[in-house]
Symmetry: D2
Subunit: 424 residues, 4 copies
C-alpha cells in the first residue's frame, strides 16, 4: 500500500515579480503550494499548543487581509463568513475574543476546500486595493505576515507528521543529494569573520519594508569580536554528545539544565539514531550539514563546551549588513533542494535561524503602531531570545540584516541552529 | 455558505439477520454508516484523551478481527499492514506496545479511505470463518465489541463537534418531533415499580452471548425496593438547578463537590441556556425528555435532593429480567428518530444508560479468560461505577438485562442518565 | 551530635478505664503522649495534602469537642479562640469555610504549646458533660473520632519524617526484637480459615458504639470461601518482586498499572534495599513480618500473582465475628513493642489493615445522621475501597468486626496490608 | 490570648565596623538577629518552592563558610556534620547532589537551636582565617552572599506568615509613623532626572567587592533620557487599578496578560482592600509610599498606562554612579523604621528594588570564576530581568551602583517596585 504516492512536489513559476500586485499573487500562491500535498485531515490536526494546523495558517493569513485591508479599506466589502473572525484571529486582543489556541486542532470545519475557497474570494476582492499607494505599507505588512506563516506552516506540519509512528512524508520525489554521516573527524578547520568593534548603526531605517521591532535605527557600541564563518554542524554536535554534553550540568544554564532533566533531552528534536525526521520522512543525517532544531539552552551549552559563546544580535547584524539576505539555502517556490540545512552556501543567511544571546527587547525609542496592527511585535518582548538570519524554510526575500526573529529558549521545532562567536 | 448540506442521513436496510454471517455483515455495515457523514478530517480529530477519533474506532474494530480471528484462525492470512497493530491496539498489553491514547488524534494517516479499504479487505477475508462453529463465540465477542465502539464513535464525535464554535451538525434532515421546553411544573406524577426482595439470580448464564464480566450467575439477597417507572427528566433537572442543586455541598459526595468546584460545573455537559448540543447541532431542549450527559456525582446529588437514591445494579437487573432488552429508544440502522433521549417508550432499556450505586467489581468466582481476550473487562474493576440499560446510541440488540456498562464517576460524555430508587 | 537523645518513650498507665469519664481522660492523654516526642517544628510540618501536621490533629480533635459538645451542650461556654474553627475544621461544610487542606503545614502559629493549652482548657470544660447520659452517644463518637486521628497522626508523622534525608527517629529506646531478613524460602505453609457461605448477618446493630457507615445490619448471601490464616509477609512480597511482579502488566488493574508507571513504583512505600523506614528510623526488614504500606493496586496484583484474590468485606466480617477485636498487635498506651507489624499473634485484628475487594458504598437503607455530624462518613462513598481489621497503630479497643476503614486505591501511607482469599 | 507578645524587636549595636573580622561578626550577628523572633516551627516552614525556610537560610550561609573557607583553607578542620552538605547546598552542581528545593520545608531537624549551634561553631573556626589577606576576596564574597540571604530570609518569612489566616506578626513594638491613605489626588508633580546620553562606563572595576556579574566594566552608548526622581507610589497604583489597569489587555505584555488571567491578579501581592501585609501583620496602606511587591509584568503595564517606560539597567546605573548607595531606606541592625517602603529619602537606593527593562545577560567578555564559586551568577542568565537599587530589606552597605539583582518577570514576593523613565 502506498500512502501518498501521488504527492510529488508541484513546481510553480519562479521569477520574483516586482510589482506589489505580482508579489501579492506570488506570496498567496506559495501558501497554497505548501499546503498542496496535505489532505484535509493533515491540514486540520494540531500537534501541540505552540503549533497550529496548516489549514489554520491558510485561514488566519486570509483573515488578516480581510480584516485589515478589505474591511477597513474597501467600501461595501461584505465579510465572507462572520464566524471566521472568532476562529482565525490569532492573538489580537483589539479584534475581540478568539478561539482558544490549544483547540485549533478541533476545527474540522470549515474544511480545507472551504478555506481555499475563502482564499480565492479574498484574493479577488483584494485586486482593486493592490494599486493604491497609500495602502502599500499595510500590504507589505500583510505579505511579510503571510511569509512568516508559511515558515510556521512548514515547521508545524513537520512536527505534526513526526507524531505519527508511520513517519509519513509531506513530499516525495524531491531530488536528494547523497547523504551520509561521515563521523566525528569530519569537522573542517573553522574560519572566523572578524569585526573591529566600535559604533555600529543597528536597525531598520528603510528603504523597503521592515517590522516595527526592527527600529528605530540607532547606534550601538561594540567591542572587537569574530563570528564563525560556518554554522555548527551535525558532526560537531555528535562530538558534543559523545563528550557528555547532555549530562554535564556545568555546561548549562540553570533553566536549561532543569529543562534537559524534565524532558529527558538527549539530542536535537528530530534525531533518531543516525537519522533525522524531515518533510520527506526519516532520512540519513548529514554530518557536514548544520545542526538544527535545537533550543537556546542547547545552543548555549554547546558554545560553552566549545570554549566560545553565542553572538549578540548586534554583532550578527554588524557583519550581515554587507551580506546578501536573499542568498543561501532558503525557500523558493521551485523547492530547489529539500527542506533541510545543507551548509553549502557559506552565506550568513539561510539553512537555519541562529540563536543570539540577546533577549528580545525593544530598541531605544521603540513605539508600537496604533491599533490592532500594533499588537504585532511589542507585546512579546519578555522571556524570548532573538534569532537572526533565515532558514531553509524562510521564503527567499523575506529576511534581511535587521530582521529579528524570536522564540522562547526551550522551543526548538523551528529550524534553529547556531553560529559561534568569540571576543577579539 | 452551507457546510455539510449534502449530509442527510443515508438509510440502510433494517431487518436484523439471524445468521452469524448476516449479523456480521449488518454490524460491520452499521459502523461504516455511522461514519458516512464524516469527512476525513472529522474522522481524524480527537477532543480529549477519553475519546477517540471516529477513524480510530473503525480501524480498531478491524484490528480486532484481524488479530483474534484472521491471524489466529485463518491459515496463511497475511496482515494487511504490519504497522497498524501498533496504531490501533487499544489497551491489550499482551498484544504488545501501542500508540499513546492521547495521541490518537495525530493519525492523519492512514486516511479514512485507507481505513475503509482495510475494512473491506478484512471483511472479505473473514467470510470463510463465519461458518465455523468453533469460532462462533469469538465472533460473537467481536460483534459485541464492534457494537460497543459504534456507541463510542457516536459519543466521541459528538464531543469533538462540540469543541467547534461553529456548532456543526453530524446529520441533517432527520425528522424531528416538536421540541419544546415546558417548564418546571411539567413533571408527571411518578410511578414506581416494586420488588419484594429476597434471593435473586443475578448474572449471565446463557443461552446467547454475554461478556465475561456478566458472570458467573449467582444468587444475591435483596431487600424490598422500588424503581421509578420513568427516567429523571430535563424538567426535573431544571428544578434541581433552580433549587441550588449545584451550589449546595451537603447534596454531594466529597469527590463530587471537589469536581463541581474544580470544573465549574453548573449543568449537564451539553446544556447551553435552553438548548442542548446534539448530533444535529444545537436544538431546543425537551423538558419531558430524560436528562442525559450527567456524571455519577450529579446523579447521586440529584437523588439526594429528590429524597431518593440510586438503585444497585442488582436491583435494576432483578426488575429488568422480564423486560424486552430490544425495546425502547435505541440505535437502529434506519435511525428511527434522532440521537437524543425522548422518554416515550416506558421501557427499562433505551434513552440513556442509568447510573447505579454499584461499583464495578467482579462477581463471585469471576475469572478472566486466558490470553489477550481476557484483558477485556477484568482489569478495569477499580474506581468505576456500573450503568445498566441501554441508550439511544446503543445498537439495538446489543444490551440485555445482565449487561454491565461502566464509567468513572466524573465522566459524562456518554448518554448517561438516572432512574431513582427507594426502599420499601 | 545527637538529635533527639532524650526522646525515649514515656510510658503512661495501662489499665483501660470503664467509665466514660475515665475513657475520655485516657483517650485524650494518649493523643498528647503520641505527640510528646515531637518538637514544635516537627508537629507543624505537612508532607503532602493527604497528610496533616501532628499539631493539626491535636487541634482538630479538640475543635470537635468544643464544637459538637461544648458549644452545643454546655450553656455559657465561650469559644477559646474564634479563629480556630476556621483553621481546624477538617471538612464539615455545614460548619463553614475552612483553611485549605494543602496549606495546613503553614500554621506555625498557634504553636504546639498553645494547642496543648487549648486541649487542657477544653478537657476541663468537658468534665461536667461526661456524666450526662444523653450526651454519651456523641461523646462515644468523639472518642472514636479522636482515636482515628491518633492513628493518622502516627502515619502522617512517619511520612513527614521520611522526607528528611537525616532519617530521623520519632522514638528511641524501644525494645526491639531481633530483626532479620530470612530470605525467600522463609514462607511457612499457609493455612486457611474456611467458611461454608450462606446468609450472614453483616453490620453493626449494637450494643456499643459503631459508626453510621457500619449499619444498618442486614443479611448478605455468601458463597463458600476461605481466608488465609496469616497476612502476606515481607518475604512473600520479596518473591513477588523477584518474579517480576512490578513489571508484569497482566497482573495489574489498568489504573494500577498506570499508577506503577507514572510513579515508578518498585516496592512498598518505605522499603529501601533490605531496610524499611519506621518511627524508629531505618530498621532491618523482617521477612516473617506482614508486608505493609502497600496500595490496593499492589495488593490486588499480588493476589493475582499468588493465584488467589482479595476477600470481600463481608467475607472478612463473617469470619471475624467470633474473633477478639482487641487482640493482636495494636496500639497500647504502653507501646508494648514498636510500630511495625510482627505477625506474631495469629489474630484477624492487628498488624495492618487489610484491603478488601469491596468498594466503600452504603449498606442497604443507610441514612447519614442529620447535621454536621452526618457528614462523617457518607459523603466519602465513591472511589475508595474498604479495609478491615486494625493495625499496629490503631488504638486497642477502637476497632471491631463491623468496622469499615476506607482509602483510595493508590494510597499507602497507612499501615495497609493484605490477607488472601479463595473460593471453595 | 496573645501569641507572640514578647517578640518586640531586640536592637543590636549599630556602628559599621571597618575591619573584615568586624564586618564578619556584624553580618553574622544580623542573620541571627533577623531570625530572633522566630520559633523553631516558624523557622522551618516553606511557603512555596521559590522561598526557603528561615532556618535553611541560616544553615545554607553557614554551609558556604564551612565549604569554601574552612574546608578548603583551614588545615585539619573537621566538618561539623557530614550530612548538612546534602541538606544545605543550594544549587552548586559541582558540590554534589542536594536536597530538593521544594522539600526544604520538611527539615524539622536539625532544629533551629542546632543550626544556631552550628553557626557558633563555624564562627569560632572562622576566626583565624579572617586576617589572611589572600582569603579576603572569598570572605567578601561570603559576606555579600550572606547579606543576600538576609534579604531573602525577610521576604520568605513574610510570604510564609501571609499564608496563615491568623495574619501573624514577625515583629511587634516597632515605632510606626502615622499611616494613612490619602486618595488618588495625592500624587505630587513628578520631577525628572535628566541624562544627556553618550558613552557611559558601565560595570564594576573596583576598588571594593563586586559580584562577577557586575563586570567586566565596559562602555555603553546611551541616548538622552530621564528617570523619575521618585518611585511610583501606592496612590498612583490605585489610580492605575481604578482606570482598569488589570483588565485592559493592550497595556500588558502577552506573557503578562496570560499570567494576570491564570492567577487572577488584581493588585500587588500583599494588598487587601486598604491594607497591606507586612512583617508587623496587616497595616493601613500609605498612599504616598512607593508601591512594592509587583511583578515585572505589572511594572511594565503601569509604565505603558502612564505613557512612560521602564529604564534600562544602563540608564539607571549612569544616573546612580554619583549617588550614595548607602543612603535611603535600607536595612540597619537597629531597624530604624519598619520593613516597608516610605519614599522619604529621595535616594535612588532603598525602599524597593526597581525593575529595569534589561534582561539579565552577561556583559561583554564576562567569564564565570572557576570551580563551584563560578556557579554563582552566570548560570541564571536566561529568562530573568535586572533590578537595580536596594530595598528596605537590603542590608545597608550591600548594594552599589553596579549591583545587578535579577528575578523572573512573574515573581513579586521580593520588595520590587518601579521608577519610570522616558526618552529626551
Amino acid at each position: 500500500m502506498d500512502m501518498g504516492a501521488s504527492r510529488a512536489f508541484r513546481a510553480t513559476p519562479a521569477a520574483t515579480p516586482s510589482s506589489l500586485a505580482g508579489r501579492y499573487a506570488a506570496v498567496r500562491a506559495l501558501s497554497a503550494t505548501l499546503a498542496d500535498p496535505l489532505s484535509d485531515a493533515e491540514a486540520t490536526i494540531q500537534s501541540m499548543p505552540d503549533a497550529s494546523p496548516a489549514k489554520w495558517h491558510l485561514a488566519h493569513t486570509t483573515w488578516f487581509w480581510e480584516t485589515f485591508l478589505l474591511r477597513d479599506h474597501r467600501a461595501g466589502y461584505r465579510t465572507y463568513d462572520e464566524r471566521f473572525a472568532y476562529l482565525f484571529n490569532s492573538y489580537y486582543e483589539c479584534e475581540g475574543p478568539r478561539h482558544a489556541r490549544p483547540s485549533r486542532g478541533m476545527l474540522a470545519r470549515p474544511a480545507l476546500d472551504e478555506v481555499l475557497a475563502w482564499r480565492d474570494h479574498v484574493d479577488r476582492a483584494m485586486a482593486p486595493l493592490l494599486d493604491r499607494a497609500e495602502l502599500a505599507p499595510l500590504i507589505e505588512l500583510g505579505l511579510a505576515h503571510e511569509q512568516q506563516h508559511q515558515e510556521l506552516l512548514l515547521t508545524d506540519i513537520k512536527h505534526a507528521f513526526f507524531q505519527n509512528p508511520l513517519e509519513p512524508q509531506v513530499w516525495q520525489g524531491l531530488t536528494c543529494r547523497g547523504f551520509g554521516f561521515e563521523g566525528l573527524e569530519a569537522q573542517p578547520p573553522r574560519s572566523w569573520l572578524e569585526h573591529p568593534g566600535g559604533v555600529v548603526r543597528i536597525g531598520h531605517d528603510g528603504p523597503g519594508f521592515g517590522f516595527d521591532n526592527e527600529g528605530p535605527a540607532h547606534d550601538v557600541l561594540l567591542q572587537p569580536f569574530a563570528l564563525a564563518a560556518e554554522l555548527v554542524t551535525n558532526a560537531e554536535w555528535e562530538a558534543f554528545i559523545a563528550d557528555g554534553g547532555y549530562t554535564t550540568p556545568s555546561l548549562w544554564l540553570s533553566d536549561g539544565w532543569a529543562w534537559v532533566q524534565a524532558e529527558g533531552v538527549e539530542a536535537p528534536l528530530y534525531w533518531r539514531e543516525l537519522q533525522e525526521f524531515s518533510h520527506m520522512g526519516m532520512v540519513p543525517r548529514d554530518g557536514a550539514a548544520p545542526v538544527t532544531h535545537i533550543s537556546y539552552y542547547e545552543a548555549d551549552a554547546f558554545a560553552q563546551w566549545a570554549g566560545a559563546r553565542l553572538p549578540t544580535e548586534f554583532e550578527w547584524e554588524a557583519l550581515a549588513q554587507d551580506a546578501d539576505p536573499a542568498a543561501g539555502n532558503q525557500l523558493d517556490p521551485e523547492f530547489q533542494g529539500w527542506l533541510l540545512p545543507n551548509g553549502e552556501s557559506g552565506s550568513l543567511f539561510g539553512d537555519c535561524w541562529q540563536w543570539t544571546r540577546s533577549a528580545y527587547l525593544p530598541y531605544p525609542r521603540f513605539r508600537p503602531a496604533a491599533g490592532a496592527v500594533g499588537e504585532y511585535n511589542g507585546k512579546f518582548m519578555s522571556g524570548q531570545f532573538v534569532l537572526r538570519g533565515a532558514s531553509c524554510a524562510t521564503p527567499r526575500g523575506h529576511s534581511r540584516a535587521t530582521y529579528r526573529n524570536f522564540f522562547y529558549p526551550h522551543q526548538r521545532w523551528q529550524f534553529t541552529g547556531l553560529r559561534l562567536a568569540r571576543d577579539l
